[in-house]
Subunit: 326 residues, 4 copies
């Protein structure tokens, strides 16, 4: 396609996720492989506004595939939420002759691109980089595999103590709007109960099930709680549980460790595939799309669809979670 | 279905794989949930022949989801390869009124079931439990995620030394017939080259590529080698490389550690899904099938097809492996 | 010594610590090796009171050296704090002809022994099992190595995010009365500041140092905070820091994961040494002592001294922590 | 001291060890803290000969404490073994006005310093950086804690398979001249037998003990073998075992992974202490010494003593290893 980008900018934005570096590496290396010039924009939209960027070469991305965080830094730019901010960003890109951008981030990052469309007419391709796995148009997001593994390693450790003390633990994992991390880590952690935003929790039913378990001889219990579940944050859940059952559960919030760490194989491979694919689609002239993987195949979804559709929880997972908790 | 099994036996056979315990747990718990009697057969086919089995209850499988190995033990039974052996096994199952078996294992285990068909007419369902991921009819096998993660953790460590000493390392991972572990761990480990059984390696082309890398300024290098690649075991590869390039590569064989360890989330969730699904299919009256997961959905494949078809390597992964090695 | 114990009871009490199982294993195996009968008392002092115990053999402790938690369970017994409770416990031991006990736990457990002395005249030997490392009479306690490693793995992950977002993180580690975990994980985590109970923190001085770091070009920062530091729990510290510097630090509480997990080599080896040594000292007729390791040598300290003396922080570590934070 | 060094060079040499980066960081930061100029010499003695060095600042060593390998690279220089090579190295140091060097490495590195003494009269201080822990004058060497932890993680995984298959595994860990890694990882791994260079192994006695274990009901077994044990490399041991007992043991060589990986807390703290201490001793005018830690205190030992004395294995560890293997 005659008009396809010759010089592209790549950046990470919003919450960091393990595998972002692997994605940057794949974009830079495949960009160079295909003859593009690649610029790394620092601190996401913030860097576009302030003109903070650097030319990337093979060296810039060597030995980063295994590293957590993002070498390009990230931020949540408030200035980019203003028309003036977005104008500044567009001016910078034009001045630098950057005619395509590859944005790695989650829902907020993609929404930013939708707004930016009105200010700039270069090609825009997004890569789903967020631990939450809550983007439509891809089976998994870059960072999810590692976050859920980090959660399970914490849950395994807490189970040691739960067993030793015969206690109940409520473990809060990330997920304000989606229960993917909670569901997978709950199943894998052998949790007695899993509270997720997608399913309303009746505290009485939960309590009954819970007391039943103790009647059947269970002496310890793990409940995995997504931040955005219907009973509220984990301390609220503990209070509700105390009121209805009298049980004094211990509370653990896994927190920010879920964002960090060396990415698991799954995130590195996904990031590598999508990074190369995004560059190929850039060269093909694609615009305004998110590169995702569905059923093992790289696929494009319009950014609008990716942002505005809800990815559903696998109902069979919900079912087995309750069967296996007997 | 009137004739569906009421008492089932579950066992693990062949090479052990992380997640086998999670699969046993899922079979036992969902079996009990659905009102079946579940018996654990010890040491795979060996236990059938010798009548080594025990009734399983909820307690038998508590706190095992996170454990490597298999609580039911495993073996490669030579006696089962004989008609007499298989007859003995059939007699045991009849005597115990076991009318369905769920076998967790790899290619050899499934082939055993095909032979056993002639001796016993109960229901047979297989679960793909092998680190090699070389079974047709499922996107992933139970154990693969962990094995490839173990490989990458070793590769990451070796890269520290490779960088420090500016050396070349040849790292052999498991895979006599399939390159799945090598391909994913090679991509994720940023390997300069990946040798797999599915692709013939021309030693000269490999050497050229290799020397090119050094000319371009690379000072260290990782090559991931599947056991079954066309140049032979890793020490042969090292010799060939030495002959053609003069480079003295260090050899590391990751070996049996790839079979062990606490299963990753991916293996635990897959094992949990397939275990429940296998029990449900048993109750539905299914027979002579392997329960797998394709595109996120549980699916049945005839054991014959699972054994006799070859699962293909993702060609896009091969492509990005070479692009990203520039 | 003619009167030395022939039948001993072993138990774990108080907060669980990684390596308690390794200690139990060492006590049981060496007890059997030296011809003693060994009984495992369940749930610490609670089990003595309720007569909950079981004979241990070589099998009882096989394959537990690598496991977190404690197979003998643990508890904080309120009944044992009463004279009646302790009397019941003494009656049980006499009835069972247990003439020596080996108690694995921390400060509370040892204090319990001091009280129990008035009720029972068998031999009592303690093993220091607590993640806090706050017992006098041993360089390290069983569980400390693992807890501090768990903390550092969390800190390493959080640093990824701190760097990516250029943020300040306050990380709370365990330690109500002692800063051992905080000091070692702070040094090893490259923390900019470490707040421990042993040193009064002046919030202004801390703030100044902190702002200086940012002036010198630091863009992210990790502060490690022991629970018992002089500014209070980590959320208080965050508020104080906000007031004095305006900086909005993120708060992470590592929490209960520090108690769990497979014990590090250090804890396994220490537990193995002290377990064997405690049995040997039991046979020698020792009483009312804690078995510890000082300068690599097994040593006895009276329980009174162990409980009532304060183990000091290494001043050179304090010094290097501040030098290396420049 | 009037004559103490004002500009120092730091380098790593010989086999890399986890924690070398933490040591470099400590030398650089404390050097700057105390007003010295610090130069990093690349690739050890090789870099001195070739004049490959760079000025170090606070930035050069930020975010490296957690990294394996060495940012200064390392090598085993053959040219430095010649008089000419050492002369070149001395000329470089003089030209650069480097009047003190801090060398991080093992036995070979220290021996190099002894030779270099004849060519150069600046101050020389060594830091013990080697996974083998075989230097006299320090309780532990930088890298040992991580290497032994890497070994134990492999052993834990292999035990899964050993148990599942009821097999015997011979696991070779590093240690050509010393059994420290083997002894600690053998005790911590619950090995049935540990073969180390310090103790002659009688194959018959080993075989008897081994068969006894099987008679007593053991169904699997782990034997940890140091490279330099008296029966030779692990494949020889396997052959000898086969001859005497008929048992077909599986062989695993853990190999180079033991050198890599993010350093454990123990190595980071030790490296930090010794790095600062070495700089302080440099400023005090010390020369020709190794900085080590004995009984928790930083100590100097003459390089001659460090190289020519043998550090002894703890005999109590040997004893408990055999008691706990019953």
């Amino acid at each position: 396609m005659a008009s396809a980008a010759k010089k592209i900018g790549v950046f990470t934005s919003g919450g960091d996720a393990p595998g972002m570096n692997a994605a940057i590496r794949a974009v830079v290396r495949s960009g160079i492989y295909y003859g593009l010039e690649v610029v790394g924009i620092i601190r996401g939209y913030e860097g576009m506004i302030n003109g903070n960027a650097q030319v990337m070469n093979l060296r810039s991305v060597s030995n980063i595939i295994q590293k957590g965080g993002t070498i390009l830094k990230t931020s949540r730019s408030t200035e980019f939420m203003t028309t003036e901010g977005r104008d500044k960003a567009a001016i910078f890109l034009k001045k630098e002759n950057i005619d395509g951008i590859i944005a790695i981030g989650g829902n907020g990052t993609l929404t930013g691109l939708l707004e930016f469309r009105k200010h700039w007419d270069g090609q825009m391709i997004a890569l789903p980089g967020t631990i939450d796995n809550d983007l439509y148009g891809t089976d998994y997001t870059i960072g999810f595999f590692t976050a859920v593994q980090t959660a399970i390693e914490a849950i395994d450790k807490i189970r040691d103590t739960a067993d030793a003390h015969e206690r109940v633990f409520l473990i809060e994992v990330m997920g304000r709007h989606a229960g993917f991390i909670a569901l997978d880590s709950g199943i894998a952690g052998g949790a007695e109960s899993i509270l997720i935003p997608e399913v309303d929790t009746e505290v009485n039913r939960c309590a009954t099930m819970f007391l039943d378990g103790f009647k059947k001889g269970k002496t310890s219990s793990i409940i995995v709680v997504a931040e955005g579940n219907s009973l509220g944050r984990v301390t609220n859940v503990a209070n509700r549980l105390k009121e209805t059952t009298g049980i004094d559960a211990k509370v653990v919030i896994i927190g920010h460790v879920q964002r960090g760490g060396s990415p698991m194989v799954g995130d590195r491979v996904l990031a590598s595939k999508l990074g190369v694919y995004a560059v190929e689609m850039m060269i093909e002239g694609q615009d305004n799309v998110m590169a995702g993987e569905i059923n093992g195949q790289c696929t494009l979804t319009s950014i609008d669809d990716a942002v505005n559709n809800r990815k559903l929880i696998d109902p069979f997972k919900l079912k087995i979670a309750s069967i296996l908790a007997i």
